[in-house]
């Protein structure tokens, strides 16, 4: 009898995002992992494919007033407001520690003006502890938090090209789903030199408290995440991945290894886990082992075989 191939060889989960080599396609989504320290109490961060840290701005930001979150059906709204200690302290206090893990470190950056993005990218470029940048042009929760760059293809291309010009590391652009034509946004940032695209950030939403008759979240609107948005994210990954030649990091409601496989089939090269980290601190670790087990059972030798199989 012939042994099934799955029991003979380990599934190859490694993927490439531009010049970055990831041992597996699973990384935390920015803003859902802080700077990693809290999760190191639960598992070895070296198990991750990469780490994506919280959005970093030029100056420290206190963020929005509370309440900042509200639960929704199979999801949650958040309006944190980019609370972060500012780029100087991120470089000094947070990044060197992450270097002790054997994984690429991706720093998410946000700003109000193109000059902000360029300056944060330049300062991060001076650090040896940064392997890639992710441009947050899609935060819905601050007045000038980048969303204006995320809804207009020309502005998205402009900020991407400006950061590319000063960055020595790959530049990933995180797109907003709050647009009518996501493919046009993807093409615009690709032509401006983006090395990869993260899809999707949160959808703008609101919940109202029946007792107070006012929005629950102090900021009124918040970003919707969790399993509720997964079909939208899958559709966008499916459409954009076929229209561009750069890799896609898919995200939006991934809770299990099967969810991750679905994103890869839609055309994602790698995937990011967001809200699930708030529910289960070991979510990324669990999803990696579930994805491996799923591939073994499906007789997949390399996860890259699955990329875009849903296209035709």
């Amino acid at each position: 009898m012939k042994e099934p191939t799955s029991s003979l060889q380990q599934v190859d989960l490694s993927v490439r995002i531009g010049s970055l080599c990831l041992k597996n396609p699973v990384m935390p989504a920015s803003g859902c992992f802080a700077f990693g320290k809290e999760f190191a109490d639960f598992y070895d961060l070296s198990e991750l494919g990469a780490i994506v840290v919280k959005a970093t701005t030029l100056e420290p930001r206190l963020g929005n007033a509370t309440p900042r979150v509200a639960e929704t059906a199979a999801g949650m709204l958040n309006a944190i407001g980019l609370q972060n200690p500012g780029v100087e302290r991120v470089v000094r206090d947070e990044l060197p520690w992450l270097r002790s893990f054997d994984i690429p470190v991706i720093v998410n950056i946000a700003g109000t003006t193109v000059e902000d993005y360029v300056e944060v990218a330049r300062r991060l470029g001076e650090s040896e502890d940064v392997d890639a940048l992710e441009l947050n042009i899609s935060c819905p929760n601050v007045k000038c938090g980048g969303i204006q760059f995320g809804t207009d293809p020309a502005q998205a291309a402009h900020v991407t090209a400006s950061v590319k010009a000063v960055s020595r590391v790959p530049v990933i652009v995180k797109l907003s789903p709050n647009v009518s034509d996501i493919v046009a946004m993807g093409k615009a940032v690709e032509s401006a030199g983006a090395d990869a695209i993260s899809l999707i950030n949160t959808l703008v939403g609101m919940r109202i408290d029946l007792r107070t008759r006012k929005p629950i979240i102090h900021n009124k609107i918040g970003g919707l995440s969790g399993p509720a948005i997964k079909p939208i994210a899958i559709r966008m990954v499916h459409d954009v991945s076929q229209a561009v030649h750069i890799p896609i990091i898919g995200m939006g409601g991934i809770m299990t290894g099967e969810d991750a496989a679905e994103f890869v089939m839609a055309g994602a090269t790698a995937i990011a886990v967001g809200t699930a980290n708030f529910v289960q601190p070991t979510a990324c670790q669990d999803i990696i082992s579930e994805l491996r087990a799923w591939c073994e059972q499906a007789g997949i030798a390399s996860v890259t075989e699955l990329c875009g199989v849903a296209w035709k």
Binding site: G31, C32, F33, A34, E38, F39, D41, L62, G63, A65, T66, P67, R68, V69, A70, E71, A73, A74, G75, M76, N78, I80, Q83, G226, P227, M255, T275, N277, F278, V279, P281
Partner: protein, 255 residues
């Protein structure tokens, strides 16, 4: 970790007592810490609910929380029966610090802020301190845990509608003589109560406030539950879940 339900019953209107089998609890817990509980295994009610610890009996391997049914999520939790299991993270956060030499402490609990006072009262009594519990509720059908607290000291009750104990605010039951005889106070309850307690004791008695804030992760990552805390001359956002929920009363900034 998945913990088995030992007991689960009503102890007041919309209030439930939930005892869980917890054989492998960490030793370094403190009164005032909380556990973060999933109300179901489905994704429909995604986020965990932070519930303060009412009792944590390491020797018996048992953990008790008392919670209020406030919506569909906690309603779902209330349907768990003995023998079923719930997904629990914790104990989490920083609880109430205890001080050597304290001879008398005033414990103040409002509504669902009363449960953590039971474990705290037990700890204080064991250390030889006198405990006075001042607890307030909306109405008599929500008065809970008075017998448990009476085991550790005097209990003074106030209700908003006067159906049990003093008719009015619990702060009205704290007089100058009580403050003068006490070394410290500990409080947990809704924000208006905490604000009133902070004002009452300002410059008169040191103490701690356990804050309530909508939480996400419970481990200090999502930054949902921040609160302004004064350090030196500066006010910074501290995480209620990780840096708190208990903070030094004089440092808490109410907007």
């Amino acid at each position: 970790m998945r913990l088995k339900v030992l007991d689960h019953y009503e102890i007041g209107r919309d209030l439930r007592y939930l005892a869980l089998e917890a054989p492998d609890l960490p030793r370094g817990y403190q009164p005032g810490q909380f556990v973060h509980i999933k109300v179901s295994d489905s994704f429909d009610h995604l986020l965990r609910r932070p519930l303060s610890l009412c009792r944590l009996d390491v020797a018996a391997g048992k953990l008790v929380v008392v919670y209020r049914i406030t919506g569909a999520g906690t309603r779902m939790l209330s349907e768990k029966i003995p023998g079923q299991t719930v997904d629990v993270l914790g104990p989490l956060g920083h609880g109430f610090p205890l001080h050597d030499g304290d001879r008398h402490a005033i414990l103040i609990g409002g509504g669902i802020g009363v449960p953590p006072m039971v474990e705290l009262a037990l700890w204080l009594k064991r250390r030889g301190a006198r405990v006075t519990s001042v607890i307030g509720f909306q109405s008599s059908d929500q008065v809970i845990l008075t017998d448990e607290l009476r085991e550790y000291g005097d209990v003074l009750v106030a209700t908003d509608d006067g159906t049990c104990g003093h008719h009015g605010l619990l702060t009205e039951r704290i007089d100058d003589a009580m403050i003068a005889s006490a070394d410290r106070f500990y409080a947990c309850g809704p924000t208006p109560m905490l604000r009133a307690v902070q004002r009452l004791f300002a410059e008169r008695l040191p103490g701690y406030l356990s804050l309530e804030e909508r939480m996400g992760c419970g481990i200090g990552v999502c930054l949902a539950c921040v609160h302004g805390i004064r350090t030196d001359d500066d006010v910074s956002n501290k995480k209620v879940c990780k840096d708190g929920p208990v903070f030094c009363a004089s440092e808490v900034v109410f907007s």
